[in-house]
Amino acid sequence: MRAGAPAGHRGFFHEAALYHSDEEFLAIVTPFVEEGLAAGEPVVAAFGPRRQALLRDRLDGTDGTGGAVDYLAGEEHYARPATAIRRYRELLAEHVAAGAAQIRIAGEIPHLGAAGPWDWWGRYEAACNHAYDDFPLWGLCMYDMRVTPPDALEQVRCTHPFLATAAGHHPNPDFADPADFLRGRPSTWRDPLERTRPRLLLVDPMPAEVRAAVDAAGAHGGVDQADVRGLMLAANEVVTNAIVHGVPPVEVRVWTAERRILVQVSDAGPGPRDPLVGLRPVRSATGGLGLWIAHQTCAYVDLRQEHGRFTVRLVAGRPET
């Protein structure tokens, strides 16, 4: 039996809370944690250091039960959406195997306006409605209204079926079907490098040529070799997909800046049909495995249909916001 608002709900109870102050943050998160612990449910908190200290102080200051909370370092956990989904799914599977009736996770994506574009977190929030739905999870996504940009807020409103306030829990009338949301979502992020001439343009290359191009770009300096290798694998997969599933010509462009490499791959086809592709694990036989792995080996991935071409952008190093 699930305690709290999701009682009787099956699968993922995905909730957002928009708060305006530290007090409001605590007024929403504290009861979420305490009621979970009281019901014997596993409780996970994934916040940046400041929020985590705030929450720890409050919980330890009240009844000392805060020690039972599983604290994850938010910056690290929310570095990449596909990685966050993979790790959460592992954690959830362990708790369910141990007999948990419900798992509670309160978290905050610590990226708003700080490191990397927000855009793929909008995809994450939509995709996780499916990616976690085979678990009895109550997820509380905290958004600080003082720093959340308007376009991110718009996406948050569309991707959470429930809303939490200090006063209670409500269905969200703005929630949109995740697949529809992802298909219709205007994606506006561009790397400023795209306004410059690419370092290299390859038309209909074999993947080995693309790997060599990424390797050469990596020798340019400034990006960690492990990240260059991750980009090389991702570019290989995206180009292979374009050759196997796409429509020629396949065009690959490579840009380099001081601390990043951008690879853009496009083909004249419509792109994959699954709007959640890349964010959730898939069996190798069904396709999409390469994109899922690309999402974990790159600092940023963007997929979109534009000007009649399916275009994938892959970034290694420090993405521009």
């Binding site: 993979r86 074999m206 993947p207 080995a208 790997r211 492990a226 290798r229 090389m232 694998l233 290989n236 997969e237 292979t240 050759i243 196997v244 694990p281 898939v282 069996r283 190798s284 495995l289 390469g290 899922w292 792995i293 974990q296």
Partner: protein
């Protein structure tokens, strides 16, 4: 001309596709391939389509006094596809693949340290019945090459094949080498005895996907028994996700097969694939 046609990076056990343009390039590659074999005492078979075997033999003999003797002794065989494996007017992939065992046994009996085969594949544009089985055949013979006794060069005339057809054929070879390229082929696959199994060297991606799949699928049949088999990945510098998935599936499906020697990066990829495919 001969100088630009050396495939200097090849070893026994390699099976490469050489896309080329021009009749001179084709005959030049064949000639340097033949001379290289004679240098090392290997048996060598040339299978022609666009060249007349007798004219070709005469031309080679004009440049190298060893040729006539090698032809007479059967160390060198130059014949046309139409008079050998296409003699029935159709390409019988299974029969042609099975025929390799006898050819290899004979070369061993004759005391040659190795066998080298070079074939003009320009018949395979689709007109010959059975051509649709050529990709299966080209992939399947990698199991024979993995034995390490034979090396093979398949000559594909760029002017003869559509790009899509050529790409399909290329993927059935572990490596594609340009004429004159001294590089080793992209991927090497060899059966090993200590430990018993398979060693992979080089890079596995879409350009050799079908070749790798055939060798992995045939591994237990080619190394029969119920003893453990090791797939040594220590020489595998790159594996794409499909290659990693094929390795993970082989280790799961075939009892006794284990993967060994993966670099840290490859081991990470294999773990991700295992998770997704769990």
């Amino acid at each position: 001309m001969v100088g630009t046609a050396t495939l200097a990076g090849l070893q026994a056990g390699d099976h490469v596709c050489v896309p080329f343009s021009g009749d001179d390039v084709r005959t030049g590659i064949m000639e340097s391939f033949v001379r290289g074999a004679l240098d090392e005492g290997d048996k060598v078979i040339c299978c022609t389509v666009q060249d007349d075997p007798r004219e070709l033999a005469a031309a080679f003999a004009g440049h190298d006094p060893r040729i006539s003797d090698a032809l007479a002794r059967g160390q060198l065989m130059i014949g046309s596809a139409a008079e050998s494996y296409l003699a029935t007017g159709r390409f019988d992939a299974e029969r042609t693949a099975a025929g390799w065992r006898g050819v290899i046994a004979r070369a061993r009996d004759e005391g040659h340290p190795g066998l080298r085969v070079i074939a003009d594949m320009s018949w395979a544009t689709g007109a010959v019945p059975g051509t649709d089985r050529l990709p299966w055949y080209e992939a399947e013979v990698n199991r024979i090459f993995a034995g390490g006794f034979v090396r093979g060069v398949c000559l594909y005339d760029r002017g003869t094949f559509t790009p899509a057809r050529l790409r399909r054929y290329i993927a059935t070879h572990p490596g594609t080498v340009e004429p004159g390229d001294p590089q080793p082929p992209q991927l090497r696959m060899r059966h090993t005895s200590e430990p018993r199994g398979l060693a992979l060297t080089g890079e596995a991606d879409i350009a050799n996907r079908a070749a790798l799949a055939a060798v992995l699928d045939g591994l237990r049949d080619d190394l029969p028994g119920d003893d453990p088999l090791t797939i040594d990945l220590s020489g595998l510098e790159f594996a794409d996700v499909a290659a990693a998935a094929a390795l993970v599936r082989t280790a799961r499906r075939v009892p006794g097969v284990r993967l060994a020697g993966a670099s840290r990066r490859l081991a990470g990829l294999l773990d991700l694939v295992r998770q997704a495919d769990a």
